[in-house]
């Protein structure tokens, strides 16, 4: 596999891979490092890449393994995982997060790793359940269950958020 083929067959998944890193690591700089790390590894093993049947699933699995490893090391080092619980924002934060769309991303980030990775593969990347199952090494049924849980939790958080917003709005009116 030469430079051109690498560009054509591997780099076309760049955005998906990077977004997955961001979803798991929840840190822009770490995600960038992890992404560069993976691409370097893929580049070094480019000769073996031709033989892979489903390159997208293979690369997403590799990205996930790499990031989950990083997360584990992070937790072993005693670093706190970013926001463990959802707290409704105060008025100041609300002003900051005027863009409610950004709030959704933060809400998804609060889900457990498996759930947030699955919901993003399904709803952001629009991948099929069978392919997600391959990446996650799960049965399709398990993927559906996790997806349903993730979406319902997200709905709950949106409801809480909107109630808080309404309350605050009435308070400060």
């Amino acid at each position: 596999m030469d430079t051109q083929q690498f560009q054509l067959h591997i780099l076309c998944y760049s955005d998906k891979l990077y977004r997955m890193a961001r979803s798991i690591l929840k840190d822009e700089n770490r995600s960038k490092d992890a992404y560069q790390d993976l691409m370097m590894r893929l580049w070094e093993k480019r000769k073996q890449l031709k033989a892979i049947e489903n390159p997208q699933a293979f690369m997403l699995t590799s990205m996930r393994n790499l990031c989950v490893d990083l997360l584990r090391k992070q937790q072993l080092n005693g670093e706190l995982p970013a926001n463990a619980e959802y707290n409704a924002p105060n008025p100041h934060q609300l002003a900051e997060q005027a863009d409610t769309v950004n709030v959704i991303s933060r809400m998804i980030d609060l889900l457990p790793e498996t759930q947030r990775t699955i919901i993003r593969m399904k709803d952001v990347e629009e991948m099929e359940i069978s392919e997600i199952a391959e990446v996650m090494s799960m049965t399709e049924n398990a993927v559906t269950v996790n997806l349903s849980r993730a979406r319902k939790k997200l709905r709950e958080m949106i409801l809480i958020h909107q109630q808080q917003e309404k309350m605050l709005y009435e308070q400060y009116r």
Binding site: D15, M40, T100, V101, V124, S148
Partner: protein, 174 residues
Amino acid sequence: MNNIDNLLNNYFDGTASPEEENVLKNYFRSDNISPQHEMYKPMFAGFDKEKQIAAPAFVIPLERDKEKQSLSRKLWITIASTAAVILLVITLFPFKNQSEMQSDDYTVFINGKEITNPQKAQQYADKMFMQANEIIRTSYEPFVEVNAMQTEMDADKIFDNVYRKINYTESENQ
């Protein structure tokens, strides 16, 4: 609207088909969302927005430069090794080289004949050596024979033998 509610139920159960999900997505991207569905709008908008996040550029390491480098290195190694071999040959076989260079003005006189071919001269010399060797060997042979005769003709030995024979005949006579 009822249809959207059903689709939303399927969506949250994770059982909506890709086509049904597409219908939902398009509905929430549109401008005519009914008020009871308004709360889900940011969710679908959030998915769309996340999809716009792009990866940082990955600079592919220069493959061709590496090849060029290795090629020039190979060339350099070839030149160096050839030079080393030539140097070795020159230092190991200097005399052969010199004799070959001097072969043009090589002259030897054999029996008054002028010979310029060193190989012929060598052959002649070898032949002469063989002859000389034969002469020495054959001329030395008589000396060896004389020496053997001398040891046989030892006076003491002959006298001793004669003395024993005399004694023997005398004892027989008695």
